[in-house]
């Protein structure tokens, strides 16, 4: 058991190492970031100054980039052989320093933590609603398998699955802001000066449509998974036994079907984290919800590479960590694994 947990943690660490490497190489090797600052108003001297400031004048990983033995002894890093971009990247990461935004000149780490909470709020609200509603719908669809109700739930969830997230968001925004008087976007009314409960209410009305979009996008998948798992469970012989014992349909669904179907739900929530992040990027962009997704969108538009790099790293590492947690949770929930 301990061995299993240690092995899983080991793989998570390896994955994170891979993400760190990928993140570094994408931004450094696929191109010197300042070369992408294609503003004709910048003089060569300014570009050079930016390169020095962000450490881009140093060698990428290897100080001994030349094969010439005389030059190799005087390596490109000066006295310190670890004076490379890669070493600086790692040591800065350990210090929690993700660099400075090209656009706002603020530290990236500070910028991201500010917005992380908004994303977590949105994802949390959307996912919890989607899971609860999806489970109920899936249970009913499986119980009423091969009826009109089941088929319409099936077609409905396939349709919802096929909707581009951002488009559903746009439609809801169009409807909500034109006919229901809901806000056009953002997290709260700027300059309203609201405090306490009123402010919470204001944030709530801003959160309504993004959460609804999130929920609708994910309900379909949870419903489908729940439906197929429950169908499997209900054709087991112990369901027949339960029925013979005289248990009511509700009791069978609650105690047998629901409990057994919880494991696949945990797995699918973990597997869905990537899609969740993709959903958050699109929904935040549509509703100008100031989270990590909107940060990525803005960073792309402004060619703000430090922010883009930091946001990608944060998202990828969080997804990896959340996956490990789900994996360990699964181990604890499943007696076949726990007791083995």
């Amino acid at each position: 058991m301990t061995k299993l947990i240690l092995r899983k943690l080991g793989w998570a660490l390896l994955t994170i190492a891979f993400v760190l490497l990928l993140n570094f190489f994408l931004f450094r090797v696929m191109g010197d970031p300042t070369r992408l600052l294609k503003d004709p108003r910048l003089s060569q001297a300014t570009i050079e100054a930016i390169r020095v400031r962000f450490g881009l004048d140093k060698p990428v990983i290897n100080c001994f980039e030349t094969l010439n033995p005389i030059k190799a002894s005087l390596n490109a890093c000066g006295v310190n052989p670890f004076n490379t971009q890669f070493a600086a990247y790692l040591s800065n990461l350990l210090k929690g320093d993700l660099g400075v935004s090209f656009h706002s000149q603020r530290p990236v780490a500070e910028l991201l933590t500010e917005r992380l909470w908004n994303t977590l709020l949105l994802i949390g609200a959307g996912q919890i609603l989607a899971i609860i509603i999806g489970i109920i719908l899936g249970l009913v669809a499986a119980w009423k398998a091969r009826t009109v109700l089941d088929y319409s739930a099936l077609v409905g969830s396939l349709t919802v699955w096929s909707l581009p997230t951002f488009w559903l968001g746009i439609l809801l925004l169009f409807w909500g802001s034109n006919y229901l008087g809901l806000p056009l976007g953002g997290k709260e009314t700027i300059g309203s000066g609201l405090t306490g409960l009123k402010r919470l209410g204001d944030i709530g009305t801003h959160l309504l449509l993004p959460t609804l979009t999130f929920t609708l996008v994910f309900i379909g998948e949870y419903m489908l998974i729940m439906r197929s798992t429950v169908l499997d469970v209900l054709s087991e012989d112990y369901i027949l036994t339960a029925k013979a014992k005289g248990l009511s349909t509700f009791q069978i669904l609650k105690d047998h079907a629901l409990r057994n179907a919880m494991l696949p739900i945990v797995t699918i929530v973990a597997l869905n984290l990537g899609f969740t992040v993709a959903g958050a990027i699109q929904i935040e962009t549509v509703f100008s919800w100031p989270g990590l997704g909107l940060t990525i969108f803005e960073a792309v538009g402004r060619r703000d590479y430090p922010v883009l790099q930091g946001a990608f790293l944060l998202l990828a590492v969080s997804v990896v960590l959340a996956n490990v947690i789900a994996d360990l949770l699964y181990t604890f929930l499943d007696p076949r694994v726990r007791l083995a």
Partner: protein
Amino acid sequence: MRDFWQALRRNRMGVIGLIMIVLTLLMAIFAPLLAPYNPKERIRVTLDSIYAKPSLEHPFGTDDAGKDVLSNFIYGARVSLTVGFFASFISVVIGGTIGLISGFFGGKIDNLLMRFTDIVLVIPDLPLAVVLVALTKPSLMNIIIVIGILGWTGTARLVRSQTISVKERKFVLRAKAIGAHPLYILRNHIFPLVLPLMIANTVLVISLAILNESALAFLGLGDPSTLSWGQMLNFAFTRGAMSSGAWWALLAPGLGIVWLVLGCTLLGQGFQQILNPRLESHHLQKSEMIALEGSHVQQATG
């Protein structure tokens, strides 16, 4: 193959999906005949022609540049289909190769390849795709490659598990016993049996690729020189369709994506139902009353 076609014809979801895809394909192929205007043609823009309401002249209205939305929509199908087919081709080739090798050879190779697959699987694709396209040039080619190289993990796992189940079949073991070359077995015995599942999977990968392309385009990372459905939505959204109440510029491209993705999903589901028939009945159903009266064994085996 003939049996497969027969089974598909009896699968209602599959048939509807296939019809939806074929209609879209026909629209894309005959775009110049169907579209009332040529989107590349220069037009004289007046204040009235920007976001003009749907009319006889422009059945779907006009967009931010005064162009006919219907014509853009018809031509846009070409882009979405191109991205969908080529990107999923890349994904299925990578995933299929990794899955076949991993499943067939097993052992260390399998372990290594599957660990790599797990690592790639866990990294969220859209942010990575955004980073990759933002760092390179957002041309159609780059978008196809990026979506293609990020979308193979599901296929790899599926093909691997199918390969493992096929390689233990008697005729494969027999071929091995008489000394057939592993590559020969892989090509002539295993691949043909894995192929149907791969085709079913391709259809689903196409739908994911189309969704990803539209999301990238919406985030401003579409090819600026081609007008895909995602790009149309991006232009409409960022250039004031919301505030001018121009729902027509937002509706058609979105519905196009849903139509095509739903078609692929239905066909993919249909394929899967044929290849992997699941017992869709259970003990809480009414039909069971009959089962309890004696034909239980029959139902369980059927």
